[in-house]
């Protein structure tokens, strides 16, 4: 007896120590994970939130009848030279700026997209024409970066994109209270642009929306039907075993392979156009199908056999058993699988590369047949652009994508809470 007790006592301290060490390993791992994630989120957020505000400059814009060929009509408003109007207003502001190079720098204060904004403003509200009036115009991205404090004015002039004279002009606008940072509407309503101040995320959001819709419409019904058949109705034999093994393997195939498959079949055989969300959605649905089938089968398998037996026992046919009893109970699990698959598809770029969705697309797609790109692709394209103002846009696009993913995931959690049954 005493020897056993001695053994226990002599090893007890070591066993306690081992247990506490093991707990500490776990805690440290979690801490490292949190640190990485926190670092990622904080840097992305610190870069990205600045996009919410965009610099505008108030300019006394000369909209006297002379600018519209003497007469203000609907036609003359649509056809006026707004580029010239903005430039002459800038010249009137700083009459002593002379020389081609200096003038160019002066015109560079205002975004080159402002002329289209001004035209749209006037077409919408023709009553604005006829006077010299103060109008807030979109500033160039260099000005925006400067206003956000990311250009150091103490640097030697040669090292700055924004030269001394431009900073002087901006300072004068600031003194007069005519520079303002406003909520960045264009970022949420426009498509891509090569000018950072005009670039928006909306085109990519719509592209992602159509792509995921197509993906969902194809993958969810096919995946669920396949899972129900395989799990509930199919005979157990070699063929179904083979299919099962293959589905499990497909889930682990790298996504680019599905892209190449899409290129070979959808584009080359069926002759579908490049760069459209329809093809993107079809390719992604190929990719998500295995995930959906596997998780749907797991959900079906989790329904207790007693339910089936009871249904069969009161005389329901196998199909009625499945449709009336098993499927509704397996639904939450199936939906979870479907949404996880779709969330994965939402973040995917590799298969889209080969079917031409990694492209510069300005026009916001209006349907699945219009060329479009998706959010992760937009992030990739912006991260590769030389202009510095794209850094914050890249981060902001990441935040938008994360927001969508969080929304999808919280939807899953809610759904599960609401529908889940425990036995």
């Amino acid at each position: 007896m005493s020897t056993q007790r001695q053994i226990v006592e002599s090893t007890l301290a070591r066993r306690y120590a081992r247990e506490s060490r093991f707990q500490w390993y776990g805690r440290i791992s979690i801490l490292i994970g949190i640190l990485f994630l926190g670092f990622l989120l904080v840097t992305t957020f610190l870069n990205g939130y600045k996009v919410l505000l965009q610099t505008y400059i108030q300019l006394e814009v000369d909209l006297t009848p002379a600018q519209f060929g003497g007469e203000i009509t609907e036609e003359s408003i649509a056809g006026a030279n707004y580029d010239g109007i903005i430039k002459s207003s800038l010249r009137a502001e700083f009459p002593d700026v002379s020389g081609r190079k200096n003038r160019r720098a002066l015109y560079g204060l205002i975004s080159n997209g402002a002329k289209y904004d001004l035209r749209d403003m006037l077409i919408e509200n023709p009553a604005m024409a006829g006077d010299i009036r103060p109008i807030w115009l979109l500033a160039d991205d260099e000005v925006d970066v400067f206003m956000k404090g990311r250009i150091d004015r103490n640097q030697p002039e040669a090292n700055r994109r924004l030269k001394d004279n431009a900073i002087g002009w901006i300072d004068r606008f600031i003194e007069q209270g005519r520079v303002e940072k406003r909520f960045n509407v264009p970022f949420f309503t426009r498509g891509d642009s090569r000018e950072p101040e005009q670039a928006g995320i909306f085109g990519a959001i719509m592209g992602s929306f159509f792509t995921i819709m197509v993906c969902m419409l194809l993958a969810v019904p096919i995946g669920v039907a396949a899972a129900v058949y395989l799990q509930e109705l199919a005979p157990k034999n070699r063929i179904t075993d083979l299919i099962e093994v293959n589905i499990n393997n497909l889930a682990a195939v790298p996504s680019i392979i599905f892209g190449l498959l899409g290129l070979a079949i959808f584009l080359n055989v069926f002759g579908l156009p490049r760069s459209v969300p329809l093809v993107g959605g079809m390719v992604l649905s190929l990719m998500t199908l295995p995930t959906i089938i596997i998780s749907s089968r797991a959900a079906l398998a989790a329904v207790p056999p007693s339910i089936r037996e009871a249904a069969l026992g009161v005389g329901a046919s196998p199909i009625q058993t499945v449709l009336h009893h098993v499927l509704p109970l397996a639904m939450p699990g199936m939906l979870t699988g479907a949404i996880i698959g779709l969330a994965q598809a939402l973040g995917e770029t590799a298969p889209l590369l080969v079917i031409g969705m990694v492209a510069f697309i300005v026009d916001v797609p209006g349907g699945p047949m219009d060329p479009g790109t998706v959010l992760p692709v937009q992030i990739y394209l912006w991260s590769d652009s030389p202009e510095r103002a794209f850094v914050e846009r890249t981060s902001a696009a990441i935040l938008v994508l994360l927001a969508f993913l969080v929304a999808l995931n919280s939807f899953i959690v809610l759904l599960r809470r609401k529908l889940e049954r425990r036995w």
Partner: protein, 345 residues
């Protein structure tokens, strides 16, 4: 459920095939170096012309040529960008696939820069230094006419006038056009300064090419991917490293990055434009004549690209870092566009 899903797919395919015959936007593929310039033209074209904004994919010069030369028809691209001239083999492939008439347009130049952090000492390199520092095999330093695996570890080993910093160069991978051009202009330029290697060009062309174009793989040259912004960031963190990237990235990051002078010439806008900076290359696009009139706006897009407002001395492309051609050269190519002069090789 399954049946209806299948018929849905079939329906989608049918309607899509019908749609495919009516593409109304220009499709452009090709070089990632020309991409930042072509996209600016496309965007302004889309806003001003009334045509749809062209769609531009960045596939790399070689990938773009492959797609472009695959055939004539709406499913094939109309224009491909290239950071080098079309190769004879690519041209032949085009001809074989029925792409007979191709308009060649040079749009300007791009300088390739060896940059470093502003905190580092600015290097003054020759192409010979670059070759000796980065080639896989270099001429034996004892003077015998043989190649030995690159023994140099620091810049001072290469050239006693340079600082004794470890050789560490971040640059694009072999799939990149920038890498090709860098090998051809900088490495080969330095390689040719050895007379006996130069003589090899006539006697054994492939040995010459492999001697002059092969970059060392022992860690001194680090493949940093195609993302130039990443290289810029890494340079800021490591002042001892140099990076290889396009001039537009130096232009945008002049407050933190400096470019090494090569053969005594600094990478500055004017010096690249007048041809004195030795490592610069022409940028092109190629258009299919057969698509003009079928896809709306191609001729107008080419006119917009070759207008003085775009690729001229003061055009908006220079703001993005494109180095313009001389007035005569510009004239030559805008005339070629107007006459749709077909390329022959």
């Amino acid at each position: 459920m399954r049946k209806s899903a299948i018929s849905l797919v079939a329906l989608g395919l049918i309607t899509a095939t019908i749609h495919a015959h009516a593409r109304d936007h220009i499709m452009i593929v090709g070089s990632s170096t020309v991409y930042p310039f072509a996209t600016v033209v496309a965007e302004s074209f889309g806003k001003t012309s009334g045509f749809k904004t062209p769609i531009i994919e960045s596939t790399g010069s070689g990938g773009g040529m492959k797609l472009f030369c695959a055939g004539v028809g709406v499913q094939h691209p109309d224009i491909t960008n290239s950071s080098r001239r079309i190769k004879k083999s690519e041209f032949d492939r085009c001809q074989e696939n029925g792409v007979k008439d191709v308009v060649e347009v040079k749009v300007g130049y791009d300088g390739i820069v060896l940059g470093s952090s502003k905190e580092a000492q600015r290097l003054d390199l020759t192409r010979r230094d670059i070759f000796l520092a980065l080639a896989k095999e270099v001429p034996n330093s004892d003077g015998s006419e043989s190649l030995v695996p690159n023994p140099y570890r620091t810049w001072a080993d290469v050239n006693a006038e340079l600082p004794a910093i470890k050789i560490e160069v971040l640059g694009p991978p072999p799939t990149s056009g920038t890498r090709d051009a860098f090998a051809e202009l900088a490495l080969e330029g330095g390689c040719k300064t050895f007379d006996w290697v130069r003589a090899m060009k006539k006697s054994d062309k492939s040995a010459y090419k492999s001697a002059c174009h092969t970059v060392r793989e022992d860690g001194a040259y680090i493949e940093a991917g195609e993302n130039d912004n990443l290289i810029i960031q890494k340079l800021q963190e490591n002042p001892d490293a140099l990076g290889v990237f396009g001039f537009s990235f130096l232009d945008q990051n002049a407050d933190v990055i400096q470019g090494a002078s090569i053969d005594g010439v600094a990478p500055e806008f004017e010096l690249i434009a007048d041809g004195s900076y030795p490592v610069s290359r022409p940028l092109y696009f190629y258009a299919k004549t057969a698509h003009i009139g079928v896809i709306p706006g191609i001729q107008e897009f080419m006119d917009a690209f070759t207008g003085d407002a775009a690729f001229g001395d003061e055009g908006y492309l220079t703001d993005k870092g494109l180095i313009p051609m001389s007035a005569e050269e510009r004239q030559q190519f805008s005339t070629a566009v107007r006459n749709r002069t077909s390329l022959s090789m």
